[in-house]
């Protein structure tokens, strides 16, 4: 017996010489929605959009309709799916977004048919296949769009000429490891994202470092997505802020995201975890499974009976050196499951904020029993297994409130 079925139907007609009229229907066990979209034939731009609910779930779902208008003016190019997910999916409803993506696919294909029909007026024998091949071979706007969208997707590169250290700061250079003084061990946030190296982050490295200093961390690791910071850049940041900055990298693999330390290779795209592990081992680095159960316990998936024993059998754990058991972007339950699995497998446990915003840095961190000043020392410390994941900000707040209490008494 079927557990679930979703049907989507889209038809595209030519409304007039300039406009395509697209009607889409999505109907499944949970939702039933419709979209009417008009698109310009010449530039495939959204001219109008209307949505309609038939069945929905929450009492607030109907609010989504008004936000569909934010898609007005969208152009069906290579970036359209991303825009629809981001704007329609996040502000309105992901199911409208899903249907709208189908409508865009259908509009693109219909525009092809319209173009072919026009071309056939001059060449009656022109086959669709030949028309498409000729179009694909013709350079022009499409290539430009491709290049533009590729630029948008990639992280803007820092200019080599950018003066990171201002002359004024050179005058009174702080001690780079000032934050380490007086500390027997140290607390480091091992998982931090900066903008623009991680386009999903909203905080610059300077903002994150200043905040990390302010809250009393001893250091942070820059672990931007598939991005390698140069040693010189990081050294400049250390000098500028008088704070311990270390390098890592968050690499997406077929088994999820991995925090990697000690590997300078610039890895793009998705790699097999096993291959990554081999590279890291060759570089004598260290690899941590980042938020290994992110999203595992949402909705029905959380009720499937995923026990720590069962979770520990996941293939990925044989290829990692440690498990991130405190991550700022997942639920407490998901962190707890990661902690149980780490304990079961006897793997070391780390903490990191996964900060994408200044206010998030240090919510979780890793407390090492020895001081760390260099990347080599970080890797040695990680390999020693002598550390603990800690809810750093929470500990600080507790300490502060108990101190204030004592002072008041």
């Amino acid at each position: 017996m079927l557990k679930f079925a979703r049907n989507k139907l889209v038809g595209v007609a030519r409304k007039n010489d300039d406009v395509l009229s697209i009607h889409g229907v999505l109907d499944d066990d949970i939702y039933s929605v419709e979209v009417d979209l008009c698109v310009g034939i010449k530039d495939l731009t959204f001219l109008s959009i209307e949505g309609k609910w038939h069945r929905w779930t929450t009492p607030e779902c109907p609010r989504a309709i008004e936000f569909l208008q934010e898609a007005q003016g969208f152009c069906i190019d290579e970036t359209i799916d991303g825009k629809i997910h981001k704007i329609v999916g996040r502000k309105a409803c992901r199911h409208f977004a899903n249907l709208l993506i189908e409508c865009c696919y259908a509009a693109r294909e219909a525009a092809r048919v319209v173009g072919w029909e026009a071309a056939k007026e001059d060449q009656p024998d022109l086959a669709l296949k030949d028309f498409v091949a000729a179009k694909a071979a013709a350079p022009g706007e499409t290539a430009q769009q491709k290049s533009a969208s590729a630029e948008q997707r990639g992280a803007p590169e820092k200019s080599a000429d950018t003066p990171i250290i201002q002359a004024q700061q050179e005058k009174s250079k702080p001690d780079p490891l000032e934050s380490q003084k007086g500390a027997a061990g140290c607390v480091i946030d091992l998982h931090v994202h900066t903008f623009p190296a991680s386009p999903c982050s909203s905080a610059s490295e300077d903002q994150l470092i200043q905040e990390a200093r302010r809250i009393g961390l001893n250091g942070i690791c820059l672990t931007d997505h598939n991005h390698v910071w140069s040693a010189a850049q990081v050294e400049d940041l250390r000098q500028k802020h008088g704070f311990l900055i270390l390098r890592g990298n968050e690499i997406t693999t077929d088994q999820g995201d991995m925090l990697v330390f000690g590997l300078e290779k610039d890895i793009k795209g998705i790699v097999k975890l096993q291959d990554l592990k081999e590279e890291v081992a060759r570089a004598e680095g260290f690899i941590i499974a980042a938020h290994p159960f992110r999203g595992f316990l949402t909705f029905g998936a959380g009720e499937l009976g995923l026990t720590p024993e069962r979770a520990a059998q996941r293939a990925l754990f044989q290829w990692v050196d440690a498990i991130e058991v405190m991550n700022g972007k997942v639920t407490v339950k998901e962190n707890n499951l990661a902690a149980s699995v780490a304990a079961k497998l006897g793997l070391p446990a780390t903490g990191g904020s996964d900060a994408h915003d200044m206010t998030e840095v240090g919510c979780y961190a890793t407390r090492f029993s020895t001081p760390i000043q260099t990347e080599a020392e970080l890797i040695a410390a990680l390999k020693s297994g002598d550390y603990l994941a800690v809810p750093f900000r929470q500990e600080k707040e507790l300490f502060h409130s108990s101190y204030v209490e004592k002072e008041t008494v």
Partner: protein, 165 residues
Amino acid sequence: MSENILKFSMNRCTSVEPVDETTLKSVCRLTDTFTSACVEILVRLPDLEIVAVQGQFHHEWRQLSDPNEVLQKVLGVRVGSGMLKIIKGLMGDAEDLDQLTYMVEECCHGIILALTRDILIKAPVNQEGKLEFFSKMVRDNIRLYNRCAAFAPGTRLTQGIEPPQ
């Protein structure tokens, strides 16, 4: 030229059914003016790992030498958070593979929606009960906060819920 004759039409159907107690099968079929295609995945519970995948793809002008060769790359991927980036990354971004990749994603969405349905079916019928039920859902899964119009700040479902850090 008649304005009422369609220039293009498509029909995509995704269905999910249990194979046994620990396996779900999700099938996505696409029939459009140019395409006839089907992708099927088997997902193992409870960790939702893709344990088998196969497909067919016929298109008016696009030729895929062996869709199954590409599809095998998603074996072992887990259905859930972050899967789209992983599936796209593993299957590659060649234009000819767009639809095949999208159909794998649709199969995965089908699995998630099938599991979601099991939860939603427990929602109370009355308005007050519904508000409480969905509000608790956001509270328990804070990532849902501000993920759509219904869960945006200021709605009845997010009242009294602190935004995630």
